[in-house]
Symmetry: D2
Subunit: 153 residues, 4 copies
């Protein structure tokens, strides 16, 4: 019976992660305005996709570092809110590895490295459609009051 | 005569910083699309202002961390390109201190801490109109090939 | 009367900072073993000095980065425990600017940038006797249970 | 014949990694003084072990954060010098996850995430004998002039 209850627990955790992420995404006007799409979420993990548009380029004609950070930060947010406990970024450390250019399709995957009741550490990797690594973000999350969504019965 | 030539050198450096920053800003569609205004620049230093719009809010109804980072990163870019040598961000480490909200007027000031021929370290502080510190970014810059602008004679 | 009571409060805060730092230093076998000397402390601020010994050199004959970090981290600890509330480092981001060598006398100054009830951000600068900047550390502190010392009446 | 020559290349790279790491370790008085042992090295990867001694404790009776950083930094050094090109740390960002205590046996594993001719990014994980994660370091390396060792014919 244990395996069955583990499986049920896993399905419930997955359902909660999806509900929390969908709710958060629907309220997240910044991610929507930047054309980000949430393509997958699991407890402690999320993937977000974004195409580099002309209005995302900086003065060197490369994707603005802040926009790359924003993509990584959104994936981070969906991952760290996947337990339905309201959580925000406290800090982040990003390394820019390669430049992204107009038309590039970027994918950010956020993965949980560590979590306590209040704090968490996530690793977010941004890659291009060529498989090139664009940036690595290490983020520290901090749980605030409240829940993301009222789970359905 | 030394003081006079120092003063002339300082004026030339200031003119170059302004030309480089203006040129970079005019090409920087991301900073423009986010409503950023470059309000002051000096060699190794820059100030950029931005109001938090509805399309900059995340799912917790706070200014998206990526947008705060983008503001800091633009100030960083104007400061580290102020010598007219094309320079990009290699890495950045941000601490989010307080949340910014709809309608807040944010100011980012970037200040050079250290610079060699190829690398630099900048400190960028983002504050609100209330004088509250919103975020601190420590950025590492890396000089690439080329100049930002061809200086006027 | 306000100025007098402010002054008394300031003196008390200074006395508490000195007591907490002295107590912490006397228990801190690592800082002692590395020959560090606590030369000054104020609320939210501390200065620690250390000479680079032969047993601190790495395989490139330069002061080991971990030892430079340790010096900065000790100054950070004295600064963030100066309110007599037990506080530890949660994270740190260091930039190594110049190498330190055998016989160099290094000074680390830690300065508080921001503090809430539970979290703080400190900036620590390590310089050599030549005035050269060796490293910059940005540290995030986290308050734990307890006090450093039982203040004298 | 390709597989055979790949295998020969792999063996040569492994031999070079071992020679460079051994040479570096023998010169590295700081790592030796802290009782670190280099237990394994491969191209772009290294493992270093250290026991927490009484002279490594800070004023809270926990392993000093600088000593934890030093362990991680040594593993980082052996990994990033494993191609026999002299390389130093330019920056590092550490998160302290759990405290280490007297007698703990700590293991640091350094793993290369990205490398160009001049720069590299490494992830270093420090764990205790209980399997608990103690710290995560993200390090940025910078290649300087010279080689670690003159390879044997």
């Amino acid at each position: 019976m244990k395996a069955a209850s583990d499986k049920a627990g896993g399905q419930q955790a997955q359902r909660l992660a999806e509900e929390a992420a969908q709710t958060l995404y629907q309220r997240d006007r910044a991610s929507q305005a930047l054309g980000m799409r949430l393509t997958a979420v699991r407890p402690g993990w999320a993937r977000v996709v974004m195409a580099v548009r002309a209005d995302m380029l900086n003065g060197h004609d490369l994707c603005h570092g802040g926009i790359v950070f924003a993509l990584a930060d959104s994936a981070f947010a969906f991952a760290c809110n996947s337990y339905n406990e309201s959580t925000v970024a406290a800090a982040g450390s990003i390394d820019f590895l390669s430049a992204a250019r107009l038309g590039d399709e970027l994918t950010a995957e956020a993965c949980e490295l560590w979590r306590t009741r209040r704090n968490g550490i996530y690793e977010i990797t941004v890659t291009s459609q060529r498989g090139e690594r664009i940036a690595l973000l290490r983020g520290r999350s901090y749980r605030i009051e409240g829940q993301v969504t009222t789970p359905r019965e």
